[in-house]
């Protein structure tokens, strides 16, 4: 069996974790000291993509063609020229109109096995970009950017809205879901030409009563789909956990997650749509683990019941929070990685029964991705 490899994107660089005889260990660092917001290992051609956010110098993308040995800079997504007088939505914290400028690459996904070299990138503020040439150039998806409802999106954890989840239907790569904080879930079935909001059933207690069911203002924190059954989608939402079994035509709220329904990350097994992992925390103004104990909640029966997994995870005065890209499920469906804001990285090889601590001293972890 090929040794499993994981990339972690952190506040201070990329970390490569490799499996060996003694378990998983950090094997290499890249971009040490730089703020890495996203990483993607492209299983079609072996490339590794890294998104950086230099405070002064802007957001950049790099690609490695030797499995992470060396990286070189590629093009970053570029917003179209903002027309004079264009009335824009407001930045949530400053009250100033949003500017058409790249702030962060927040999600990166491959665009389908039938489209080699094609990539999707989700950005802040609220952009979706397509590259057909392995990141040498990017084009904004105009129909979504110009959609009138796009200006109803607003910031959540970030002051401006952003696309953090991109799900490509493995049966048809022209069918793509994106999830937006805060702007609901959107689906195109024609490769990006037309878009419809697909968040019916989601609920937002943080809005006035008459707007709580409005699909366009929902705050999905993270959305994933089962590769073998892509009509089953799981969503960790600001307001709780939601699941769809009909391709996001409708969403059902899941209230029986212990110890809490709040969190950011969610992962689903690649072949079993009923098997999913969550990392619960106290909602939402506290955002710490319940009772200072880090646990993973796992369901094996489509959310009817949840196991609380804690074997190997810290159970005393642990205040780790796992952000939306901080959990990833290996294609084998057995290994799951979890990285936290306080620099802990845990990996299980048995679906969560036991966890290995890879490190408790990393920089804040934003994203973990298996090769």
């Amino acid at each position: 069996m090929t040794a499993r490899r994981l990339w972690a994107a952190t506040r201070k660089g990329l970390f490569l974790v490799e499996e060996g005889a003694g378990g998983f260990r950090i094997a290499a660092t890249r971009f040490l000291g730089d703020h890495a917001t996203m990483v993607l290992a492209d299983r079609r051609d072996g490339a590794v993509y890294a998104a950086l956010e230099h405070g002064h110098f802007g957001a950049k993308l790099h690609r490695s063609d030797d499995r992470g040995g060396t990286f070189r800079e590629i093009a970053a997504p570029k917003y179209p020229t903002q027309p004079e007088g264009e009335v824009e939505a407001k930045n949530w914290t400053t009250g100033q109109p949003i500017q058409w400028k790249l702030r962060k690459v927040w999600s990166l996904e491959t665009a389908g096995d039938d489209r080699p070299g094609a990539l999707w990138a989700g950005t802040i503020p609220g952009g979706l970009f397509l590259s057909k040439d392995r990141g040498a150039s990017w084009e904004i998806v105009e129909p979504l950017w110009r959609h009138p409802d796009r200006k109803r999106w607003f910031g959540g954890g970030e002051p401006e809205p952003g696309i953090h989840s991109i799900v490509v239907d493995p049966r048809n790569s022209r069918r793509v879901f994106v999830a937006v904080s805060c702007g609901g879930v959107w689906l195109t079935e024609d490769g990006g030409e037309t878009w419809t909001c697909r968040a019916d059933g989601m609920r937002a207690e943080y809005m006035p009563p008459e707007q709580q069911r409005d699909p366009v203002i929902q705050d999905p924190h993270r959305m994933v789909a089962c590769a073998a059954a892509p009509d089953v989608l799981w969503c960790q939402h600001h307001n709780g956990v939601f699941r769809s079994t009909d391709g996001a035509k409708s969403w059902q709220e899941i209230t029986q997650v212990n110890p809490s329904v709040f969190g950011f990350a969610v992962g689903v097994h690649p072949r079993d749509p009923d098997l999913a992992w969550l990392v619960p925390a106290i909602k939402d103004e506290k955002r710490i683990p319940v009772d200072g104990k880090v646990v993973v909640a796992r369901t094996r029966d489509g959310a009817k019941t949840f196991d609380i997994l804690r074997n190997g995870l810290p159970q005393e005065h642990a205040y780790d929070l796992v952000f939306r890209h901080g959990l990833d499920v290996h294609p084998d469906g057995d290994a799951v990685a979890v990285g936290s804001t306080t620099g802990s990285l845990w990996i299980t090889g048995d679906r969560g029964e036991t966890w290995q601590t890879v490190s408790e001293h990393l920089p804040p972890v934003y994203c973990v991705r298996w090769e």
Partner: protein, 89 residues
């Protein structure tokens, strides 16, 4: 012709040696530098061609006034310093 000097902190990401270039405004002078160093453009200017929020430009010691259009005039022997604003103390 004006001389353009870039902050040493930028050199870690993209090489930007001092350049003597033609230009009557900051925009013209920077465009002249970036014509042969396109990668550097994206580190100094944003998507809309404006000076990045946390960057600073000084012309003969005076801070740039027009951060959007970069229309500040530069003299024949001006020194243009492209710096980064301090952050985090």
């Amino acid at each position: 012709m004006p001389r353009v000097v870039f902050t040493a902190n930028l050199q870690r990401h993209v090489s930007c040696p001092p350049s003597v270039v033609p230009g009557r405004t900051v925009r013209e002078a920077l465009d002249a530098v970036f014509a042969s160093n396109e990668r550097a453009r994206g580190y100094v200017l944003d998507d809309q061609g404006e000076l990045r929020t946390n960057m600073a430009v000084f012309v003969d010691g005076e801070m740039l006034r027009d951060r959007r259009g970069l229309s500040d005039a530069v003299g024949e022997s001006a020194e243009i310093h492209v710096m980064q604003a301090l952050s985090g103390g």
